[in-house]
């Protein structure tokens, strides 16, 4: 069972839901933090990191001895990551999408493989024996999808995997939700929350995935999110009211399921609702 926790808007409570859900479900649940630009789940799960692996990606390097300056590499590259100026070849590693086109097309075998570090993947075991994996994008690196895909290679299809997804609706989000069994959309009942929720639901529907809502700070704003959910037939799975104590618990890096038995049960109930909706095996 693989569940992604996503949202269009940032800061609605994805990490809160993902981490509390993982810990409520207990040991051997896997939490993958795929918000690699700003990973936060480790601040709550406090894992002991057991392994760190760098993710490298292909970028071209050119042998000036073999190069005949035919420009085929520059012509095939849609990302302007390699240029030939007279008798000089210049590469722009930060623009490279690692398609290997330059290497494929070079008639002289002058393009060889070099690499760029995109980030690191760290694995460990956190609070409540949750199995933890996250990616940390190198600061200054633009491309997160390869790192997200790497983190997702640790999904456990015979158990329960919770994915903390990045905000938005563009390629990093797609990389973090594509092919999962269910998407939990976390929103807040405000005009910004609703606007971005619609975009998020659009992305999830484009991928043909089932989804449900968690409404965070459910007593602020207005009723428009609930009306939208009803009109669109999207089930509201859970509501978390605005409570200064919850906000304060979060601010200190603590989980509400650690401090309240009632909340733990509510998160387990959230999971059971998801299982009923998907009709899949619980794996718990």
């Amino acid at each position: 069972m693989v569940i992604s926790v996503a949202s269009g808007k940032g800061g609605t409570g994805k990490t809160t839901v993902a981490t509390n859900l993982a810990v409520a479900l207990g040991p051997y649940v896997r939490l993958l933090d795929c918000d690699v630009e700003e990973p936060n789940a480790h601040l709550f799960l406090k894992p002991s990191i057991e392994s760190v692996e760098s993710l490298m990606t292909f970028v071209p390097a050119v042998s000036e001895e073999k190069c005949t300056y035919c420009r085929k590499c520059a012509e095939i590259c849609r990302f302007k990551a390699i240029a030939v100026l007279g008798k000089t070849v210049i590469t722009f590693p930060e623009l490279c999408h690692s398609c290997y086109g330059c290497q494929e097309v070079c008639p002289e075998g002058a393009v060889y493989e070099s690499s760029r570090k995109i980030g690191v993947v760290e694995k460990g075991r956190g609070l409540g024996d949750v199995e933890f994996v996250h990616g940390r994008l190198q600061v200054g690196e633009a491309m997160s999808p390869p790192l997200i895909k790497k983190v997702r290679s640790f999904e456990d299809h015979d158990g329960v995997t919770i994915i903390d997804a990045p905000p938005g609706t563009s390629c990093p989000v797609i990389a973090a939700v594509k092919g999962v069994d269910f998407v939990v959309m976390v929103t807040e009942p405000t005009p910004f929350g609703l606007h971005d929720l619609k975009l998020g639901v659009g992305a999830v529907r484009l991928l043909g995935l089932p989804c449900g809502l968690v409404i965070n700070r459910s007593d602020i704003g207005n009723k428009d999110v609930k009306k939208y959910a009803k009109d669109e037939g999207i089930p509201v799975l859970m509501e978390i009211p605005f409570d200064r104590r919850i906000a304060e618990t979060y601010s200190r890096g603590r989980l509400i399921v650690e401090e309240s038995r009632e909340w733990k049960e509510r998160f387990i109930e959230l999971y059971e609702r998801i299982i009923r909706l998907t009709g899949k095996e619980s794996h718990r």
């Binding site: 601040l43 200054g140 563009s170």
Partner: protein
């Protein structure tokens, strides 16, 4: 010409609420929404769109079955697993690298350019605004961010306006990098939580990496005054300008529900004194006052 870009690292710290409040205070500026992926500034600015233009990203591979011999070369070449055994291209997985297009022995693959969003030039009650809508699940967000910033600059030059106020995206990746190059200064909006601090630090590192002056303010500081104090001290230790703290105030949400900035909704509220003071501090900062 000055450009202030509002960033945060973490989402939901109040970038857009604050940008809109600054829009209500400041004169002679262009507004720019660089969060093209989940743009919200227009919900408060109620822009009247004057011009709408398609944003063309890259191409996407489309295999013509009539010309295809089924040799499988494209599947071998594709590094993004975008081509199925039956030679269908998954448009979401296709990276737009065009390698299969160029190297197909039958030249059976077309590469139509995709319209992946729209961008707009609008009028608002606070002056001109440039904003955009990236299509859902589209790539090239960095390119579109660069485009809206460039257009905002053009308008400022044409109309003799001296500032661009840019609402940035969350994170530290592609669209954020595209939103900060060449900016006069960044305002990083932090929140007093462990995540807020962690993400603010990464945003500050990013600003350093690209050598753009950054200042920090804390929003909702009274939700955890200790963490807020930690941010302030951390800034001082790391030589980052700390420009102020804003209390948690439900007025922000109430104003948003009415489609207003907090300044219009409750002009005399205490929080607005704080915001005005913050704005003055930002204007007087070395990068914004041209004292660098």
């Amino acid at each position: 010409m000055k450009e202030l870009v509002i960033l945060s690292g973490k989402g939901g710290t109040g970038k857009t609420s604050l940008t809109s409040a600054f829009a209500a205070i400041s004169a002679n500026k262009v507004l720019c929404d660089a969060d093209v992926d989940a743009a919200d500034l227009h919900l408060l600015m109620a822009p009247e769109i004057m011009r709408q233009t398609d944003f063309e990203g890259g191409g996407i591979a489309v295999i013509d079955k009539d010309r295809c011999s089924g040799c499988g070369r494209c599947i071998e070449l594709c590094r993004f697993d975008a081509i199925s055994e039956t030679f269908e291209v998954d448009p979401i997985s296709c990276e737009g690298c065009g390698v299969c297009v160029d190297l197909c022995p039958e030249t059976a693959i077309d590469f139509p350019i995709q319209v992946c969003g729209q961008w707009y030039i609008s009028n608002t009650r606070f002056g001109p605004m440039v904003h955009a809508r990236l299509g859902i699940a589209e790539e090239n967000s960095g390119k579109l961010v660069a485009l809206v910033r460039q257009e905002a600059r053009k308008i400022a030059e044409e109309q003799g306006l001296d500032m661009i106020l840019t609402d940035g995206p969350p994170g530290v990746g592609c669209p954020v990098i595209a939103s900060l190059g060449g900016a006069t200064a960044l305002l990083i909006v932090a929140e007093p939580t462990v995540s807020g601090i962690h993400d603010m630090n990464r945003a500050v590192d990013l600003a350093r990496h690209f050598n753009v002056p950054a200042m920090v303010c804390v929003n909702k500081y009274d939700l955890n005054p200790d963490q807020a104090a930690r941010i302030e001290t951390g800034c001082k230790q790391n030589d980052v300008m700390f420009v102020g703290k804003i209390p948690f105030d439900p007025l922000f949400t109430k104003a948003m529900v009415e489609g207003k900035t907090v300044l219009e909704y409750a002009p005399d509220a205490q929080v607005n004194k704080v915001i005005r003071q913050l704005w003055e501090t930002i204007q007087a900062s070395p990068p914004m006052s041209g004292d660098v």
